[in-house]
């Protein structure tokens, strides 16, 4: 009887532990499936025209997404200008100045803003940037992405500032520097690698956002020369092309997907490797 029970417990142990391993590896397998699919389908679809040509009209073959690539870069630049300074300084406040209650409130709100659905951020940008100007614009898209950049930057900046050893603060103050000089010339430079990496990660995350751009930056068939006109972006183009009923547009959607994924993953892998190495050096 007890032998039977022991055998049952042992086999349950074996089965369940194997299942957890299977679960872990199947999730990792999904990553490689995604990568494989995009490299296969995107790689066979990608050509030079994709980077240099404007989109062709409905249903025509050929053309590219040159304007969308430039559009995404413009939107990202604007998002960086809007979001990064706010994120950096708010992060400095939380790490170096913050009082108790207000810091808690700010940190909590930051997390909630970070978790807000991107489509809602789009509604916000529509209200504050599209309605006053009365048309879709690069500016509105930049506001939407900029708002999304803020919470990510705040948290990473705060984290890296806190990792700076207190001895540096004490050393600077002992030399007669006051607080802001200590922060500006010692603490922030010491954490600059981490802070910049965090900012890049934030930009990499919003680079793939589609939902908040649908009714802010909207889309554009042509080159955009103004900040107050609609602009196309890579994610929105992928979305539109994937849903269109034309095979050649599907091909271009795959190509766009590969380019977008490559940019986002390279930024992520690069940043995380840099961070890990710095972390290892610090503890060594």
């Amino acid at each position: 009887m007890s032998d039977l029970r022991l055998a049952w417990r042992k086999s349950l142990n074996g089965v369940m532990l194997t299942l957890t391993g299977v679960a872990a590896f199947s999730v990792v397998a999904v990553l490689f499936l995604v990568l494989g699919y995009l490299i296969w389908n995107g790689g066979t679809s990608l050509n030079l025209d994709f980077f240099t040509q404007l989109p062709k009209g409905e249903g025509e073959t050929g053309g590219g997404m040159a304007n969308a690539i430039v559009g995404s870069l413009k939107l990202l630049a604007l998002a960086a200008v809007i979001g990064l300074p706010v994120g950096l300084l708010a992060g400095v406040y939380l790490a170096e100045f913050g009082g108790k209650t207000f810091s808690f409130l700010t940190r909590y709100t930051t997390d909630l803003l970070n978790g807000a659905p991107s489509i809602v951020i789009g509604l916000f940008a529509f209200s504050v940037a599209v309605l006053p100007l009365k048309h879709f614009s690069v500016l509105a898209g930049g506001v939407a992405l900029g708002v999304m950049v803020i919470p990510i930057t705040v948290r990473s900046t705060e984290e890296f500032l806190r990792a700076v050893p207190n001895s540096l603060r004490e050393g600077a103050m002992a030399l007669g520097a006051n607080k802001w000089k200590t922060i500006a010339t010692v603490i922030v430079p010491a954490a600059s690698g981490g802070i910049i990496t965090g900012m890049l990660l934030a930009l990499a995350r919003v680079a793939g956002e589609t939902a908040p751009l649908l009714f802010t930056a909207f889309g554009n068939q042509y080159w955009n020369t103004s900040w107050s006109q609609p602009i196309s972006s890579l994610p929105v183009m992928i979305y539109t092309y994937a849903l269109a009923p034309y095979d050649d547009w599907h091909r271009q959607a795959w190509a766009g997907g590969l380019v977008l994924l490559a940019l986002v993953l390279i930024a992520n892998v690069g940043c995380r490797l840099v961070l890990n190495r710095r972390g290892a050096n610090r503890s060594a």
């Binding site: 951020i121 509604l123 209200s127 919470p151 994937a242």
Partner: protein
Amino acid sequence: MSTATSTIDRAVPPQAGPRAFVHRLRHGDEVAHLITLVFAATILLITSVMVYELWVRSDITRAKFGFAFFFTSVWDPVAEQFGAAPFIFGTLVTSILALVIAVPLGLAAAVFLAELAPRNISDTTAFLIDLLAAIPSVIYGLLGIFVVVPLMRKPIGPFLKATLGHVPLIGTLFQGPNYGVGLLTASIVLAIMIVPFIISVSREVLLTVPREQREAALGLGATRWEATWKVVVPWARTGIMGSVFLALARALGETMAVTMVIGNNPIIASSLFSPGYSIAAVIANEFAEASGDAHRSALMELGLVLFLITFILNGCARLLIVATERGGGGRPA
């Protein structure tokens, strides 16, 4: 202040009063404090303005329909009739079903990474899983349309119909025409998207469980699985709940991937193969071309609902995760 004290001021900084403020201002610390404070306050301002805008701009439908907005199911922008029930239904069904798929998978994977795998394999795998979380949702949508939908049409859908379709009680969920797109497809894509969040947060929480807990269980003769399942996981359960809340908030607000595979049809059906619609998807599809103020107001109200729900879920998630990492299982350690 009399002139007699002013010479002393220069040598010893005064301790209080307006002159003290000016003195500190000159040295810049207060200015720096104030500037960074203003930027921190900007975050609160943005969030408040967001809620305010959504509230004010949804006043037409709030005034006209009241709470009936959430319970009626006619969505006719031309006749200005707005009932959000099909969207709320689609959002809830897809999110909950995604959790049903993702929680066991994610928890199992997190247990493997935290309890069984050697540290370096665990770290590498966690790194790869974080990359999975970084993939833009439009790419999941792309794969959804061209990979998952055809798979649903051919082997998976008919297989489920032939097997689960005849089981009493849950059979009706797997009957009816199978178009490939629909609630089940959206749930599967969502599940893949939220699994990384469950794994990475649960793994972190499981790693904070004290080693003595495991050793005590093993010392009492428990198998590795029993020690994990009956001691370690219960210890971390609040944090794991937190990761589930976090994932649920993601799933509810996810837009692009769902829009691309859910079928975009505002109906409430008993079959999981049936096309549906979600809150985020209807905003994405209709907002840019909203036909009038009432239509726009209805979509804004949906946005407000979505924001408040994710707000509450995220708030709960943070509290649960913090509570576990400090205490462990809600019990005093």
